[in-house]
Symmetry: C2
Amino acid sequence: MLTPRKQPRQQRSRETVEAILEAAAQLFQRHGYAGTTTNKIAERAGVSIGSLYQYFPNKDALLVALAEHYLDRSAEQVGRVFARAAERRPCLPDLLADLVGEVAALHTDRPALHRLLYDQAPRTPGLVSRFRQAERRIAGALADELRRLGAGGPDPGLSALLAVQGIEAQLHGALLEPQDDGDTDARLRAVTRLWHRALAEPGAANPPHRP
Amino acid sequence: MLTPRKQPRQQRSRETVEAILEAAAQLFQRHGYAGTTTNKIAERAGVSIGSLYQYFPNKDALLVALAEHYLDRSAEQVGRVFARAAERRPCLPDLLADLVGEVAALHTDRPALHRLLYDQAPRTPGLVSRFRQAERRIAGALADELRRLGAGGPDPGLSALLAVQGIEAQLHGALLEPQDDGDTDARLRAVTRLWHRALAEPGAANPPHRP
DNA sequence: ACCGAAAACTGAGAATAGCTCGCATTATTG
DNA sequence: CAATAATGCGAGCTATTCTCAGTTTTCGGT
């Protein structure tokens, strides 16, 4: 059981839940998941440990709740890339640059939170499938754009999924690891260029250079 | 402290350490990391809990030791790809097919162990850097091959690193997630083809088709 | 062979952290 | 203004990691 065991109905309890999640986010980010006790979370939230367990069946459930907030925000942010694409109908390089930039922003906006979830998600059974689900949604939207552009080879759906998985891993490696040999912007451009080559039809025109 | 606190010097103690690691591997794979207690590991290994903590300062250290064994084996296996390449000097598609196949074999050989380490590894600081180090070693060897083939764009070193990160993530997604929509072999071929496009020089010949 | 020292082993229990449960307090309803 | 429901409380139960003082085994030197 990873979902709240009881829905807060009154205003007071909704504030309690908010305070608990806020405290959990802060302490998890500062001391890591294992280094944070549920008693400390309750204390910092200004509620008793009993109240915490009234809304969250166990410690993992706190993480799942934080992840869901984060995934919602992320889906919305990446969704804007495709909203823009539907309107402006960009060429492949521009679309990829926008996507890479937005995913990079997800990492750099709140690096500690992103890292926390990325590190802990695999440990928590329910979270992996939620992340995969988000991945699929983004891949689906990307696949539609690839089809519009005549890119992505014989199976744009599969290509899009591989691209999303690859981009996420590459940006995670580039942005969340301390030793950053080479500047970040160059790394982002390299990722963009690489995926343009991977996804573009061989006959298509090359991307326009910008000095 | 994640490294053994005491080096086993006598034959007897080396066998004790082996038994502990063997028991840990079995129980972790069967019941997961959190579901396995150090007392159960000691019991199955046929030693007392005190002996376990004489060689491993904490539970995480067991995981680190298992991961190091596994990483050594993996480095050796992937190293063979480049040993073959140095001898036979394959074309880019063949090299990539060999690399993808070998990395896929790492996942499918002992899926439970791979998953265990992949899932739990990020939790411990020491392991992340070990994984990155292995990643870099493979990327370095791939970069040399790309240079030989005149592939990988203006910065073959960076392209190789992005390729290794991408391939690992894509194969993990393809091979370790339960719902496998589409057969695995097709997925491997798609990954290979995608990276061929990404890394090949635009002017170079296309890969030979094999029906 | 024997002895002293070092290495290895033991397991009860100290320390700690997740979580429960019975009861007190506050809000809502009719 | 009861009566009922929702929320809050925290001492303490349980389970697990890890320690330590004492015992047993191995080994090098004579």
